[in-house]
């Protein structure tokens, strides 16, 4: 998800770029112990530091709490490969992403392969995918990072319908793509078997792919690991949208983000930072005094920015006249901020009822709103998930995208094949050492 954190990171990056002041942090930088940490026994990893689910979701895992990957693995840079579909219509505006990219890390000898599907709006080499790639690579897997079907590169270069957000279509495209990747990889490496994982929306996709494969037996997935899946795409999207209150306490989303950036400015100014890296970013987070309301607005903004990219791209590819006037060929130098603004005013409910559903109905006249929504929910797979011994779940009890009922559903359906951590928010503890170790264990055992 392109979050506000990403924007702050972007500022950091820009600072690095313009100042050429980039330097890695020395190992001895003291880290202030966060308040409320339950310290484990000496030498053991202390508890996950953010007891607040929204903080966990926005801040992630501080460096000291992260799973330590073997140094040798860190040196392996994933190779970026791409697949271009011959004769595909690609709007001129997207000249730079007309091929579907994916990240490949191959072992030197025969090994099992795991596909990693990115979360909402994320790329094949986003930090979470990259971490999972390294994690499984260090455990002896060939690893393939795949962008989310909601990422604009996927919509432009791979989506059969030129849109995203409808799970059956997205899973269909993923299935085709993974098949192509399978044949490409098998041409250069020995694969002993296939597994699949994904986080957030990518986990939901992985579950649907696993169900389909249980019937079609194309990959014969050995293991399937769902990391922080939503139970219902639509419900979770509505949760994010509901957090954006234009006139909420202490101002709307714009105020929340502005405050966040202003605090960062103050922090930067008072600390005379010569060095900018994730260590600094976490010191900044810990210095912040923000309310749940503000954090929710920030997460909501992040989701909305991601959704705007998806809405705009789908509209531009389909020429549906939703954001971009019908028949417009946007030249490569056209100012896009007006489109960005227009797209960011569209919430997920609107996108679904004004764009997605009408499109689906042109393909399937009998499709109802209820039918389309149900097709995007894990509830549809309940029977399969209950009995699929190779499908495992890892997540958090305090995941803000899940309702209490949905958490109960996951516990009930997965039973002993599921592990829920008490803290971590939505994917906040993905890199937290005990979480990552458990994820690995769930795939290997």
């Amino acid at each position: 998800m392109l979050s506000v954190r990403a924007i702050v990171l972007c500022c950091l990056l820009a600072l690095c770029a313009v100042g050429a002041a980039f330097a890695s942090a020395p190992a001895d930088v003291p880290v202030d112990a966060p308040v409320g940490v339950v310290s484990g026994a000496p030498g053991q990893m202390p508890g996950y530091p953010f007891a607040n689910r929204y903080k966990a979701t926005v801040y992630g895992t501080p460096p000291d709490y992260r799973y330590t990957l073997p140094a040798a693995t860190l040196d392996v840079v994933p190779e970026v490969r791409s697949i271009k579909i011959a004769e595909r219509r690609v709007p001129e505006l997207f000249w730079y992403c007309d091929a579907m990219e994916y990240s490949v890390m191959l072992q030197k000898r025969e090994a099992p392969l795991i596909f990693i599907i990115a979360g909402t709006g994320a790329r094949h080499n986003s930090s979470k995918v990259r971490f999972l790639q390294n994690l499984f690579y260090s455990a002896g897997y060939h690893t393939i990072g795949v962008s989310s079907p909601t990422h604009f590169n996927f919509i432009v270069s791979m989506s059969k319908h030129g849109l995203s957000g409808y799970v059956p279509y997205d899973v269909d495209d993923l299935h085709t793509l993974l098949g192509w990747i399978k044949s490409d990889v098998e041409a250069s490496a020995k694969v002993s078997g296939y597994s699949i994982t994904g986080y957030s929306l990518g986990a939901l996709h992985a579950a649907f792919l696993a169900e389909r494969d249980s019937r079609e037996k194309r990959f014969n997935f050995e293991k399937v690991l769902l990391i922080n899946p939503p139970v219902d795409l639509f419900n979770s999207a509505l949760v994010f949208d509901s957090w954006l209150r234009p006139n909420g306490e202490g101002g709307g989303p714009q105020q929340a983000v502005t405050k966040f950036i202003e605090r960062f400015s103050e922090f930067y100014q008072t600390n005379h930072l010569g060095r900018l890296d994730s260590e600094v970013l976490y010191r900044f987070f810990r210095s912040l005094d923000v309310s749940d309301e503000e954090l929710k607005q920030i997460i909501g903004v992040g989701f909305r920015i991601t959704a705007s990219s998806m809405v705009f791209t789908s509209d531009a590819c389909l020429d549906a006249g939703y954001i971009v006037p019908a028949g417009t060929k946007i030249p490569t130098n056209e100012p896009l901020l007006p489109y960005f603004i227009a797209a960011s005013h569209v919430n997920f409910e609107q996108y679904f009822s004004e764009f997605l559903l009408p499109y689906i109905q042109t393909r399937d006249a009998g499709m109802t709103r209820e039918g389309a929504l149900a097709a995007c929910s894990l509830l549809r797979l309940e029977g399969f998930l209950r009995n699929a011994a190779n499908v495992r779940l890892i997540g958090n009890e305090d995941d803000p995208i899940l309702s209490a009922r949905e958490v109960a559903f996951l516990k009930d359906v997965f039973g002993g094949r599921g592990v829920l951590f008490p803290l971590g928010g939505h994917c906040g503890n993905l890199q937290y050492a005990p979480f990552a170790a458990k994820a690995l264990e769930l795939v290997r055992r």
């Binding site: 990403a6 924007i7 972007c10 820009a14 600072l15 690095c16 313009v18 100042g19 050429a20 980039f22 330097a23 490969r81 697949i83 271009k84 579909i85 011959a86 004769e87 595909r88 219509r89 505006l93 730079y96 990219e101 994320a122 790329r123 604009f152 791979m158 989506s159 059969k160 085709t176 192509w180 490409d184 502005t258 400015s265 100014q269 930072l273 010569g274 991601t306 705007s308 705009f312 791209t313 590819c317 006249g321 939703y322 954001i323 971009v324 006037p325 130098n333 056209e334 896009l336 901020l337 007006p338 603004i341 227009a342 797209a343 005013h345 609107q350 004004e354 764009f355 009408p358 042109t362």
Partner: protein, 279 residues
């Protein structure tokens, strides 16, 4: 499913050595550019469907100017269309020339050598940093920069090692654009410079100032070192600096996960420069 992989075109019937060389070069380029395959899949060619969204949120062109300025991401950018062309050119140049050269540089020279080059260039740049610190009237920055220059030149073997940072004397990345900012010169319009990337009116003047300063500094040093061929030395200096600078910047074009990258980078650049001037 009808999927085929296109095979590479047959080698031209040149001499065997030429062919081998060409293959080796192609292989090297393929590694640098990433592997690309083409699939033939007629149902994935996205033919026009004629679909129109029943409700539209199409931009009202009259209101555009207004809404833009209310946006958090708004930056004054009157030459946006030209800037976007330059941005695209920079992205292509980066992909086709700079990044492959950086990759080659990183492949040929081991990390300690590259760090030495980087430190040496940075040490040369302590001189303009010192000048800018003085022009900004910051005694602290002047002191730190002087200490760094002396420490790294003497203890760091002519600047090859950055001993000063290890001792806790942080680099003060001051440039002439920041100095102008400290003096109260407004940033002006956003500008994307060819090769250099994001800038604005003030920082463009600053960059020119930095280039001129660096030119005379290097001319002086070439004289001191007794180089007779200044043009050659100057070209080498420029090339090495360009590669070293690009190698140190983790940014890659078109990887920000949104088609609105130009807008976000423009915002980030403006914010970052604002922060640097405050510091």
């Amino acid at each position: 499913m009808n999927t085929t992989m296109n095979t590479p075109a047959p080698r031209p019937a040149a001499s065997r050595r030429m062919a081998l060389l060409a293959v080796a070069l192609l292989a090297a380029l393929a590694v640098l550019a990433g592997c690309g395959a083409t699939k033939t899949a007629p149902e994935y060619t996205l033919p026009p469907t004629g679909f129109r969204a029943p409700k539209s949120h199409v931009v009202d062109t009259a209101a555009v100017q207004q809404t833009q300025q209310e946006s958090m991401l708004y930056v004054y950018d009157p030459a946006e269309r030209t800037n976007r062309l330059v941005y695209n050119f920079n992205a292509r140049f980066d992909r086709a020339v700079l990044l492959p050269v950086v990759a080659g540089y990183q492949h040929v020279f081991p990390a300690p050598v590259r760090a030495g080059v980087s430190n040496a260039i940075s040490n040369l740049n302590e001189v303009p940093r010192l000048a800018n610190s003085a022009l900004q009237g910051s005694q602290t920055k002047v002191n730190l920069t002087l200490i760094r220059l002396v420490t790294n030149t003497v203890l760091g073997v002519g600047g090859l090692f950055d001993v000063a940072t290890d001792l806790g004397f942080e680099k003060q990345p001051e440039d002439f654009g920041q100095t102008l900012g400290v003096w109260g010169v407004p940033s002006g319009a956003y500008i994307v410079l060819p090769f250099y990337g994001p800038s604005n009116g003030r920082d463009t003047v600053g960059t020119v100032g930095d280039i001129v300063f660096s030119y005379y500094q290097m001319e002086y040093l070439f004289d001191l070192a007794g180089f007779s061929d200044h043009a050659l030395a100057s070209n080498v200096n420029t090339a090495v600096r360009a590669v070293d600078t690009r190698a140190a910047i983790p940014f890659r074009y078109y990887t920000t996960d949104t088609p609105f990258e130009y807008d976000i980078l423009r915002f980030a650049y403006s914010k970052a420069r604002f922060l640097q001037i405050l510091d």
